[in-house]
Symmetry: C2
């Protein structure tokens, strides 16, 4: 494998043979609704807890991806994923349902690209074919754990982001037709001292910028090669900061070529959204749904997905720690 | 890469060029005290929270391993690890200190072998040299989160296990002298319906048995090839059940060839230990300290380390879910 210091360049270019995105009621009212395979109008999904609803969404996304690829659970060699709940419990329960070898990951909202990068490494090195990569979040389950139960109606500042209710998965294979994973850059922790859990976009922006510039340097490529660079879930505030930091390094993008999954997923007038979407399900549903559809339609030939994660916990916040942040980038190409 | 369905057989056999184990006061009184590189007589490690003490132990273990190998942080290409605290916060903070590309993992107490398996895959496939793999737990931090603050003095049944205060890391390299990672078997979730967090050994035993038998079947080898098979932290109760389940399949071991890290780490008369040790730091310190020392001394030539994880959370327990369990196995060989 050729490589840069933090970057894997995949020789065999694993194929995303199928992607799937499942969403909730808020996502159904957003501009990307048509890119979801399944949308629920009820946050409970007929379960008796939001956590169980979260598990069900991930199971549904896995089933949909398998169905699209014409595969069954028995064809899956490994499942890689995680979520925001303590002990990534929703992913573990989904892994129990799948009953396939499981590697649990935790990278907060960067988990989507952490799972895709490691999954691609497994397929590329012939360590296993048919690898399922995915993640999930649920607004009410996650808000309850990190901040307040949504029923309290606690007020939030305009820098806050709305946790996406959604699950996104990608099914990787050594062979087949579809977008190919060509490279992955593994991020390092960036922590510039932001400690406000209502301003995670600002906290994560330097991590996204670091990973994007390292990716370009490791592979000796210009970022202009990409038709689209989409950060994970910086939201409007964080994405603006990331753009400013990049432009100070002389990196500027043509209009529409630098975007953010947290900005794309909701309309500017949707209630409560504030600075944009966040949560594990944000970059996962936008990347494996909307962006994958654009790639398959031929609108985008080469895309860099940069999922960002704020690695805080409620306890680390209470202990007045700042927020360690990370971003992992995966490059995807498709020639029709 | 040659492989079985769940098993990776490493062609280049990554070398564990250094291991390190850091422990606390209870570990210092145990029979493996001499195998720790550093033992603390104070649970606080001069920090103002048990969580920060946990972070410090992992940082110390990383520093010690780097020192043994004569490497600095800048030489490390990737750090893979996780812990039991919500959002694996101690590992993320240690990754911030290391300032190297980081892949966060969660497999409860199976994280030690999950990190070693994935780290070996990275080194074996030439995706990066000098990979640090590790995990940590802290008795007071973990008990507070999963059960009760230790200061309450809550009573436990005899099936309960004592969470190890300790950090263990292994430093992998493509070249060098030392024990070599020859294969890894990735486990699948086993859940036979046990829901008692004071009886996790019983819950995890079927996962250990499944992974051990799959390992043998995938590689077409007899388990007699191993001088030692050590399960992660089943403790006395769980290890007994695992032995029974294996013997029902006709698999029996010579005396002393089948053991458990949770049994080895504490003496039978140490107060509070009950059925044995547990926690992320249990298999990590015993494997990367004690067992690695025995391998280096030539007492063991081929060892299978089978770390087990109980993937419950306090919330999943409250919601009356049973405990999904997993085990990952890594085979280590050394010819002097």
């Amino acid at each position: 494998m050729r490589q840069g210091r933090q970057t894997w360049l995949f020789k065999n270019k694993p194929v995303i043979i199928a992607g799937a995105a499942v969403g909730g009621p808020h996502e159904a009212k957003g501009p990307l609704a048509a890119d979801f395979d399944l949308l629920h109008d009820d946050l409970w999904l007929e379960k008796d807890s939001f956590e169980k609803a979260q598990t069900k969404m991930l199971e549904e996304a896995c089933d949909i991806a398998l169905g699209k690829a014409g595969l069954s659970k028995q064809d899956i060699r490994f499942f890689l994923g995680g979520d925001l709940l303590n002990q990534i419990i929703s992913t573990s329960f989904a892994a129990r349902t799948l009953a396939v070898p499981f590697l649990g990951l935790y990278g907060a909202c960067s988990t989507s690209m952490e799972s895709l990068a490691l999954g691609a490494l497994i397929v590329d090195s012939r360590a296993g074919d048919h690898v399922l990569c995915g993640t999930v979040s649920h607004n009410a389950a996650v808000e309850k754990q990190y901040r307040y139960p949504t029923e309290y109606g606690a007020q939030k500042p305009p820098t806050a982001q709305w946790t996406v209710t959604g699950a996104g998965v990608a099914l990787l294979s050594a062979d087949g037709v579809g977008p190919r994973v060509t490279a992955a850059t593994i991020g390092r922790i960036m922590d510039l001292g932001v400690s406000d859990p209502y301003n995670m976009g600002s906290a994560m922006a330097p991590a996204a910028v670091d990973t994007i510039t390292v990716h370009s340097r490791d592979l000796h490529i210009s970022l202009d090669e990409y038709d689209l660079i989409a950060t994970g879930d910086l939201g409007r505030v964080g994405h603006g900061i990331a753009g400013d930091l990049l432009s100070r390094q002389g990196i500027k993008f043509a209009s529409g070529k630098f975007t953010d999954c947290g900005i794309l997923i909701y309309g500017p007038d949707q209630p409560g959204v504030m600075a944009g979407g966040s949560g594990c399900g944000c970059s996962a549903t936008v990347a494996f749904g909307h962006i994958m559809h654009r790639i398959r339609r031929g609108e985008l030939k080469k895309v860099l997905l940069v999922a960002t994660g704020a690695l805080l916990s409620p306890l680390s916040y209470q202990q007045q720690e700042s927020i360690p942040c990370i971003a992992h980038a995966v490059s995807i190409e498709y020639s029709h």
